[in-house]
Amino acid sequence: MKFAVVRFPGSNCDQDCVLAINSLPSASAEIVWHKDESLAGYDAVVLPGGFSYGDYLRCGAIARFSPIMTAVKAFAAKGGTVVGICNGFQILCESGLLPGALIRNRGLHFICRHVGVRVEVWNSRFTSAACTGQVLNLPIAHGEGCYYADHATLANLRANDQVLLRYCDTQGRIQADANPNGSLENIAGIRNEAGNVFGLMPHPERACDPLLGSTDGRALFESLLS
């Protein structure tokens, strides 16, 4: 399975994603520059974390108009697998590929630490190697990760099983004090209605090697291969 990892000016998790994907059996990843216009030959696309365009205007607001995003939208419209991590999630929301928005953390601080996230739905192409209710220990590193959507959008997300990850405590309980950034309904990751586009604030690519303190991120990448 061949992954394209898109590098925007200001991306800084692109190489981490390439390393994590290349460590999986039967998967390989290549960097695609944001000015490229084609995703031909790739089976999946990753929009990595970082600070595309310096987070100017809003996180992801300018990256959304990069030339590659036309190809990403066409790729997604044909059912192709697209994953946005952290800044990539913000870009997916800004581009309308995912509903809602990511705004300033409730506590105003940039938060960089490991958190618990509970897998809410196992039968998705992004979580099939995990179990529903499984708690993953993943790092977050963001200042604008507070997920917001209006009531109707939240109701749709629930009705269609689109919320794949929620912030939780070590026991897997979805509680206010386990919510690091004020995200509505503790939302840490969602997929689109068609089920082929996934955005999440935690960094699974930084949790694929025992040296980094957790290997729980591998389950999310392995899901894509099954």
Partner: protein, 77 residues
């Protein structure tokens, strides 16, 4: 000619920076302070004729995010 685009968080959206500024004003003894929202103003210098409809579309598509923000457009001579 200039266009000023004023962008504010929607009333339904949590604005912790605005809430903190409101608290600070209350600590300073400013009376009658209610809700405070913090946004941004974008000043655009323009030459030639102004396409107001185009400015509105740019304000919606790029300068603001309609999911969480409202904007107003003022054109100054």
């Amino acid at each position: 000619m200039k266009a000023l685009v004023t962008i504010l968080p929607k009333p339904s959206v949590l604005d912790p920076a605005g809430a903190a500024a409101a608290e600070a004003m209350k600590h300073l003894g400013v009376e009658g302070v209610g809700r405070v929202r913090i946004g941004k103003i974008i000043e655009i210098e323009l030459s030639g004729s102004v396409d107001e409809a185009r400015l509105h579309s740019v304000a919606t598509d790029l300068l603001s995010n309609p999911v969480v923000e409202d904007y107003t457009l003022h054109i100054q001579a």
